[in-house]
């Protein structure tokens, strides 16, 4: 990334469900203040929201880092949860291991990872069973 970069850091605390989505929501506000185009904001916000929720519901929380540059937004969501054993399977639409109590809250439709892929321009997932998962998503900021 070249030129000016803004770095944001968030802790994803999995103890309070009412806080789920806070990090992506604050990021969205800041992207709005930067005057980034609504479509780009939407892509970045949804991708980040899904990754944040996954860290929240599948990995007992984690951390998020956002780097906003003049040409791209890079979002990294990191957790030390159980990891994903079969990533290809997890990437499939509708696949979810979310327990019933999570589903009752309206999460766990199995669309998170597919949406991250759909809304980010680049998606990189590093995961290791028993160690955790790191998702890095890039959304390019093109004018207009």
């Amino acid at each position: 990334m070249s030129g000016k970069v803004i770095k944001l850091h968030f802790t994803i605390d999995a103890h309070d469900f009412s806080l789920a989505g806070e990090a992506s929501s604050s990021t969205k506000k800041m992207l709005n203040q930067l005057g980034i185009s609504p479509l780009i904001i939407k892509k970045a916000a949804i991708a980040m929201y899904e990754a944040e929720i996954n860290a929240f519901i599948h990995a007992n929380g984690g951390e998020a880092d956002v780097e906003i540059g003049v040409d791209r937004i890079v979002i990294t969501v990191r957790d030390e949860g159980p990891g994903i054993a079969d990533l290809d399977l997890a990437m499939q639409e509708g696949y979810s291991t979310a327990p019933d109590k999570v589903r009752e809250l309206g999460f766990g439709a199995g669309m998170g990872l597919p949406n991250m892929k759909r809304y980010s321009d680049r998606l990189e997932i590093k995961t290791e069973v028993g160690r955790g998962t790191t998702v890095t998503m890039t959304v390019y900021v093109r004018e207009g």
């Binding site: 030129g3 000016k4 803004i6 989505g21 992506s24 929501s25 969205k28 506000k29 800041m30 709005n32 203040q33 930067l34 005057g35 980034i36 609504p38 479509l39 904001i41 939407k42 916000a45 949804i46 929201y49 906003i68 003049v70 309206g106 439709a109 669309m111 949406n115």
Partner: protein, 446 residues
């Protein structure tokens, strides 16, 4: 017209500079400066939250006085359905409608009737393919403005059909012009309004170049006059045009229940609306085709320009709805103007939150904002006149406030200054230092 017009205004004399309104505003559009609230024009969406919350009634909306009707040769009242919920149920809908004429109106046309026409057009729209779902109702102008300033990515979801008020005005005006042979310019159509945002959408319509409504009279202003007229005058004619489907629009979920689908979500209260719009933006709303979002709690019955408590009004409206249902007034009126219902204008993103037009400059300002915010106490106490510490930090980077507007920062500064003064005082220039060396030595010896 000004660049950013809105109807909500402040009565400076009544304002005491408390912080009730700044905290309540969903777009952080109010600041207190010099003991008076100030509205940041471009951010105000006319939701009326501040009108409701102000304990000193210092906030109001610009509407037209009842006397404004005398400016026109021929006048038509188009009352919002919420009007019916304002009066005791001994006053039938027909009696309320009849009361307009002795007051000087030549005709009355129910907005509720036009609402039915809009419902029909919306049903058709929902059946179309390639439309962005969920559709978001455009009936509440405060919500449309909210979308423009805070949820621009949802602009495409907004139903681009004229509002019942506009449709009513158009139908009533054309009909009168035709039947009475009067030029359109000499006909004044007056919306009887529960709503500040509607008053704005008449002055600066988003769907069309010019509104067909010529004036907006608040329910508050006409309430007593209409009541007097009802009490004094007999019911002369049958003026009811709408059936229950249209009257229901004043209630939350009233618009939705006319759509013939269960896949709708109705939300009322601006802060609830924001939560739902966030959900839509995050693609979280599954299996919902239509969202009816109303800025006021209780829908238009809870509008800021109404008289009666929203819950009482709801009960009363319920009776009018039931009565209309039993009567089952025919809907076969030849007023279908659906093709014209589609907006000729469009709604644009209003990036009023943007810190700078230049991205790099905006980034620098955002960084500065974060840094300032980190230094603020995070109490969101409002004493600085901004709704939150972060909002003050934003005002500072925009050049509209100072760090010392924060009383905690000010105290810190005073303390620092005091410490510096003490220090300086100890550093008296030697020529003025009357104590002399002798005392220094005394001190050292101790």
């Amino acid at each position: 017209m000004e660049k950013y017009y809105h109807s909500v205004t402040l009565n400076e004399e009544k304002c005491r500079g408390c912080t009730n309104c700044i905290k309540r505003c969903p777009t952080e559009a109010i600041r207190v400066r010099k003991s008076k609230a100030r509205i940041i024009d471009e951010r105000c969406i006319d939701c009326g939250e501040c009108i409701r919350i102000c304990p000193y009634h210092a906030k109001n909306a610009i509407t037209d006085p009842v006397e404004a009707i005398y400016k026109f040769r021929y006048t038509i009242a188009i009352p919002a359905p919420s009007l019916y919920g304002q009066y005791k149920t001994v006053f039938s809908r027909n009696r309320i409608l009849n009361a307009f004429k002795p007051m000087g109106f030549d005709r009355v046309y129910e907005v509720a009737r036009a609402a039915e026409i809009v419902s029909e057009a919306t049903r058709k729209l929902l059946k179309k393919e390639n439309i962005k779902k969920p559709l978001i109702s455009s009936a509440c102008p405060a919500v449309v403005r909210l979308i423009q300033v805070r949820f621009p990515s949802l602009i495409d979801n907004v139903v681009k059909l004229e509002s019942p008020m506009e449709v009513a005005a158009k139908i009533a005006k054309n009909k009168a012009a035709h039947e009475e042979n009067i030029p359109l310019e000499e006909i004044g159509v007056f919306f009887i309004s529960p709503c500040a945002a509607k008053a704005t959408s008449v002055k600066v319509p988003y769907g069309a170049a010019k509104s067909n409504v010529d004036g907006v009279i608040s329910i508050k202003d006409i309430y007593l006059k209409l009541l007097n007229s009802m009490e004094r005058n007999p019911v002369r004619e049958d003026l009811e045009q709408a059936c229950q489907e249209g009257i229901r629009w004043a209630n939350p979920s009233g618009e939705s229940s006319a759509l013939g689908t269960e896949k709708f979500l109705a939300v009322d209260g601006i802060h609830n609306v924001i939560t739902i719009l966030e959900e839509i933006e995050n693609d979280r709303l599954e299996d919902i085709d239509f969202v009816e979002a109303l800025a006021c709690t209780g829908g238009c019955l809870g509008g800021p320009l109404t008289v009666e408590n929203a819950y009482v009004a709801k009960n009363r409206l319920g009776r009018h709805i039931e009565e209309a249902r039993l009567k089952g007034i025919s809907k076969s009126r030849n007023e279908k103007i659906e093709d014209d219902l589609v907006w000729t204008g469009s709604i644009e993103h209003k990036p009023v939150m943007k810190l700078d037009t230049d991205l790099v400059k905006a980034m620098k300002k955002l960084e500065a904002l974060e840094l300032i915010n980190d230094g603020l106490p995070g109490l969101d106490c409002g004493a600085c006149g901004a709704p939150s510490c972060r909002a003050l930090a934003e005002d500072i980077v925009r050049g509209n406030a100072n760090e010392t507007d924060c009383i905690f920062k000010l105290r810190e500064k005073v303390r620092d200054l005091a410490a510096q003064m003490v220090e300086l005082e100890a550093k008296m220039p030697p020529v003025m230092d009357k104590s002399g060396d002798s005392q220094e030595q005394v001190k050292k010896q101790r």
